[in-house]
């Protein structure tokens, strides 16, 4: 019988807390005085492939204490981010780069924003335009939950700087339906029960729309290969593939993007 190497919940919590680190490796920012109440915190963990990942969080010290108290330290980056401060929040270094005027075109609507240059397209959509359908899973281009269409092509919005997405037509999950009429792939996802927790779903649907429009949805095998940039931790893959096949069958010319 092999030894069970899984960590207990308590061990997981202890590890998560021990990995919290600020700029320079300590929880508190270097040279931090008590007057500094904002710091950048990082959680490090391992993916199943053994690769190290980190998620940056921007929270105030007060928020951190409240969250830690509420969760016993077992915090997950993705769930925290919607409530976190904007990504342009003051850094532990104290430096704040010049903000940029950025013109974005999202779901056929023009927006003018003033953004920290570090703002990703995903953060601009979620935190500044309040289009929270696109999700931040890993923030590193690995999970696909942030997938949007840029000039009709699927991209990972977490890997684009918002300031470099000017003059591009962005389509998010919020722009897919026509009023109350859902996109055929949205309908198929509901009918096929192609999700469980739903966190990856908007990214799956945006990638699926592109997959169909590209002509890469000819067989289950082809769909699996061309949807490999979108992970589903609930494992709804069979239903996702079926939903994409349904949407292909439902409409000769699936619109979108």
């Amino acid at each position: 019988m092999t030894k069970d190497t899984r960590l207990t919940d308590a061990e997981m919590r202890a590890r998560a807390l021990s990995r919290w680190e600020g700029e320079g490796g300590a929880l508190a920012p270097p040279g931090a005085a008590d007057s500094i109440d904002e710091s950048e915190l990082r959680i490090t963990g391992f993916t199943s492939s053994g690769r190290l990942t980190m998620t940056s969080l921007h929270v105030t010290r007060r928020e951190l204490l409240e969250l830690a108290a509420a969760t016993g330290g077992a915090l997950l980056g993705a769930q925290l981010l919607p409530g976190a401060a904007p990504p342009a929040a003051a850094q532990s270094t104290g430096a704040s780069p010049a903000r940029l005027d950025v013109a974005l075109r999202v779901n056929r609507t023009a927006h003018r924003l003033t953004l920290d240059p570090r703002t990703t397209l995903l953060d601009a959509l979620r935190e500044h335009l309040h289009l929270t359908g696109s999700k931040k899973g890993c923030g590193l281009g690995q999970c696909g939950a942030c997938t949007v269409l840029m000039d009709g092509k699927r991209v990972k919005s977490c890997l684009s700087l918002a300031a470099l997405a000017e003059e591009r037509e962005i389509t998010t999950i919020e722009g897919l339906a026509r009023g109350e009429e859902l996109h055929p792939l949205q309908v198929a996802f509901i009918e096929r029960d192609a999700f469980q927790c739903g966190y990856c779903t908007s990214g799956q649907i945006m990638a699926g729309v592109a997959c169909i429009n590209e002509g890469h949805a000819g067989s289950p095998e082809e769909i699996r290969e061309w949807m490999s940039g979108n992970l589903c931790r609930c494992g709804a893959y069979d239903h996702i593939v079926a939903a994409i096949q349904d949407a292909v069958a439902a409409s000769g010319s699936v619109r979108g993007g």
Partner: protein
């Protein structure tokens, strides 16, 4: 991310004047184009440049084919090149290498030049939780040697760095004798792809021969009829969306059922894309019989050094050569 100034120059001349530099840890400014690797590095604090210079909209995106060969604009995306009819027909190796890279989303964003200049996937380079990384912090040591290192290189390593080069495209291009066209303060020049990347030696933080400010403007691949009979074999831990453990790029010029000339390069095993001239020489005049392929492939192990967890790559790369040559040889 560390705070940075984002420059969005109006033209290439203005971008060059800012003297950003790709692939150098000590450069105060770096270029950003597709951004798929750079944003990851920024998010993980593996790179903390004070200034980013955007090349968006400043570089050629055209894909041209003529009697001289193939010319890929530096800003053509991986998806555009992979799907281009001339590439799939005349250089299937390039198309295969691209389609086996990354995910459809990333391939829509990432550019040709950016792919060549992406940084290693060495987890000790990317995770600043490890203090020792000569590539990230010169002189700090190498956390990979003596530790978990199944992803690392067995060719071209030094006592200072054993990080593998991650690009599939670069492996295919090295096999095809491609070159890059660059533009910088010193004007324009052509650099053979085989010379673009440096060995780590004592300076693993210097990854390419590009000078400050110098940008890749295009990739050129000489016309090569044999490139039609080519194959990119990628061995990896999962079927899709994963970097190579070992890969083999093969192009064969056949004379009947014998090999006239073989071109072979390997990925996942070298600190840079690795051409295999000794295997190519042994395959000249050889048949496609498995025994002949195996004895030629055995020469790939010359000079290879394992570091423990990656010892298996020395055997695996020989088997990858055998299978890739057999697959390419079976093509008409």
């Amino acid at each position: 991310m560390h705070p940075f100034i984002l420059e969005r120059p109006r033209d290439l001349a203005a971008a060059l004047a800012l003297r950003a530099q790709a692939g150098r840890t000590d450069a105060p400014a770096e270029y950003i184009a597709g951004g798929t690797d750079m944003v990851q590095l920024l998010q993980e604090y593996a790179r903390r440049p004070d200034k980013l210079v955007s090349l968006a909209g400043l570089l050629d995106t055209r894909i041209e084919i003529g009697s001289q060969g193939l010319r890929l604009g530096a800003a053509a995306t991986m998806a555009q090149v992979a799907a281009h009819p001339s590439v799939t027909e005349q250089f299937p190796l390039i198309s295969e290498a691209l389609l086996e890279s990354a995910s459809p989303q990333v391939r829509n964003q990432a550019t040709m030049a950016g792919n060549l200049l992406q940084r290693t996937r060495c987890p000790y380079f990317r995770d600043i939780g490890y203090a020792a990384c000569n590539k990230r912090e010169p002189g700090s040591g190498c956390a990979a040697i003596g530790a978990e290192n199944r992803w690392h290189a067995v060719l071209g390593t030094s006592e200072n760095c054993i990080a593998a080069h991650p690009s599939d495209l670069a492996v295919a291009l090295v096999a095809l004798d491609a070159a890059v066209e660059t533009r910088g303060a010193g004007g324009q020049r052509d650099v053979p792809l085989a010379d673009l990347h440096r060995l780590p030696g004592d300076t693993p933080h210097l990854e390419t021969v590009l000078e400050p400010g110098e940008v890749i403007t295009a990739i050129t691949v000489p016309a090569l009829p044999a490139a039609r009979r080519s194959h990119y074999l990628k061995v990896r831990g999962r079927a899709s969306f994963e970097f190579a453990v070992v890969s083999a790029a093969v192009a064969l010029d056949m004379n009947g059922d014998r090999i006239r000339q073989a071109r072979i390069a390997l990925g996942g095993v070298g600190t840079k894309p690795w051409r295999m001239p000794q295997v190519e020489a042994a395959l000249a005049g050889a048949s496609l019989e498995p025994a002949a392929l195996r004895s030629a492939a055995a020469l790939a192990a010359e000079g290879a050094q394992g570091y423990g967890h990656n010892d298996f790559k020395i055997e695996l790369m020989q088997r990858a050569i055998v299978r890739a040559v057999a697959t390419a040889g079976a093509r008409t």
